[in-house]
Amino acid sequence: MNRNLKDKMVESLTGISVLLIIFIIVSILAVTIAGGWPNLNWTFLSEFPKDGMTKGGIFPAIVGTAVMTLIMAVAAVPFGVITAIYLAEYASEKSVIAKSIRFAVKTLAVVPSIIFGLFGLGFFIGFIGKNIDGIFNGGELKWGQPNILWASLTMALLTLPVVIVSVEEAIRTIPADMREASLALGATKWQTIRKVVIPGSVSGILTGTILAISRGAGEVAPILFTGAAYFLSDLPHSLSDQFMSLGYHIYIMSTQSSNVDATLPIQFATTLVLLLLTFSLNGIAVTLRYRIRKRAK
């Protein structure tokens, strides 16, 4: 009797937890859609903000977010894939280097994102940018200030662990006998990696990339000091320009605006755009994975 009661309690507890989670997700979506949908239209997506952000659209923030995540992916994905290949294929499990890399990746994954922002400010802008200016520009300030390149690279550092972990997982699912088959045919280790291991982990590489992008698209803290701008009347034209971003736009409208009430509809609509963007990216990741797995069979 007593044991049955316990069983029932555990069952109810797990059920309540699930309901709670569903409730939270549904409320977020409902509030965002209810507040954002009526304000979402083509003008909103294609125009610059007007009248101190209280009117107009979010076009430059969409472009900025897209370009920033693109540069981030170009930096993070190859670096992450190479690291994952090293960890899975070359490093022996017990080697000090592999252990330190693993420790570094794990640590990187739990570092608060604002710390990445500060690091980017100190390292990319204060150190690398300043030195580039000192050496190539005669001290004139160009790279030693926030811009889209430094923001993207900072974001790349943040998303690197996601890429490394998902690619390494994918590589490890390739059975050892595939590698043996390749080596037994006289392939070198590099040929085996290039022709068997990497093609076999494409789904993992894509998944890692898209997860990184959807994470990077929504983060604000890393770009806070490294490149995001409050308002720009023009799109970024070069890597040394600042940019507007969706997440940052929501943040400033809700905290820095002189007329928060007037920006409320825009905030909701921007949030909705950001959610749609990350959801569709995740959707693409899932579809790609499914297609590739199906093709493999």
Partner: protein, 252 residues
């Protein structure tokens, strides 16, 4: 007498401190089928993998002695393992085609050797598939995934893939142990055909298979080569008591 293709001198192999092969000496004749038999864990598969240095991939393996193929000790420092493995092909217990098309599986070896002309690849693929007696079954679906083939077809595809690299020696590690009787007999027929051109070394658990397919048989027990002779002698009149006991099924 038969020409000797592989000569093994005082070969000893340790996993860590455990000896897995003890002081093996034998001469494997060219263009014959040599079967390795013995109970599980006797070292026959380990021994097979020393012949194309697949044991190099495992940490903690220490090998002493010589394996001489065509007059060269393959454990010499200046031996190129990649070239060795082109010359000594291997078929595994579990068929392991790549998740690529039938065509790309067979063309894999030629391609890594730098062959890229389409007509030349076509020729090699067709010839290898014919040699592996699977051409008629797959010629209409060369560009389908190799994983869509049946288990027996996959194993013959793996044989074609190995033949495409043009080896001298083919090592087979229980190539039919996961197959049904019909597929097994196809593989055995194939072995019989292939020995005209290739030196074949086959590890098997199946006594009848060894008796049917091989010209020579080596019996291993606890890491030692107990007896090695012509198959007909081994199965009719073995010199050692242990061999007789194993072959007649008294242990194993």
């Amino acid at each position: 007498m038969d020409d000797i293709k592989v000569k093994i001198n005082d070969l000893t192999l340790h996993y860590g401190t455990n000896p897995a092969l003890k002081n093996i000496n034998m001469e494997i004749p060219e263009k014959m089928v040599t079967a390795f038999i013995g109970p599980s864990g006797c070292g026959k598969s380990t021994f097979l993998r020393t012949l194309n240095r697949m044991n190099d991939l495992i940490d903690n393996v220490k090998i002493d002695g010589e394996v001489i193929i065509d007059g060269l000790n393959i454990y010499n420092k200046d031996i190129d393992v990649v070239n060795l493995r082109k010359k000594v092909g291997m078929i595994f217990q579990k068929s392991n085609p790549f998740a690529k098309s039938v065509y790309d599986n067979v063309a894999f070896g030629p391609r890594i050797n730098g062959i890229s002309q389409r007509n030349k690849l076509d020729e090699i693929v067709e010839y290898s598939l014919k040699q592996a007696a699977i051409w008629d079954e797959v010629k209409g679906r060369l560009h389908n995934s190799a994983l869509s083939l049946s288990g027996g077809q996959q194993q013959r595809l793996c044989i074609a893939r190995t033949l495409a690299v043009n080896p001298d020696i083919i090592l087979m590690d229980e190539p039919a142990s996961a197959l049904d009787p019909i597929s097994t007999s196809k593989i055995e027929e194939l072995i019989h055909e292939l020995k005209q051109q290739y030196t074949i070394i086959i590890v098997t658990h199946n006594m009848q298979q060894a008796a049917r397919t091989s010209d020579f048989t080596a019996f291993f027990y606890l890491g030692e080569l107990v007896e090695f002779n012509k198959t007909e002698v081994m199965f009719s009149n073995p010199a050692k008591r242990q061999t007789e006991d194993y072959i007649s099924g008294r242990f194993g």
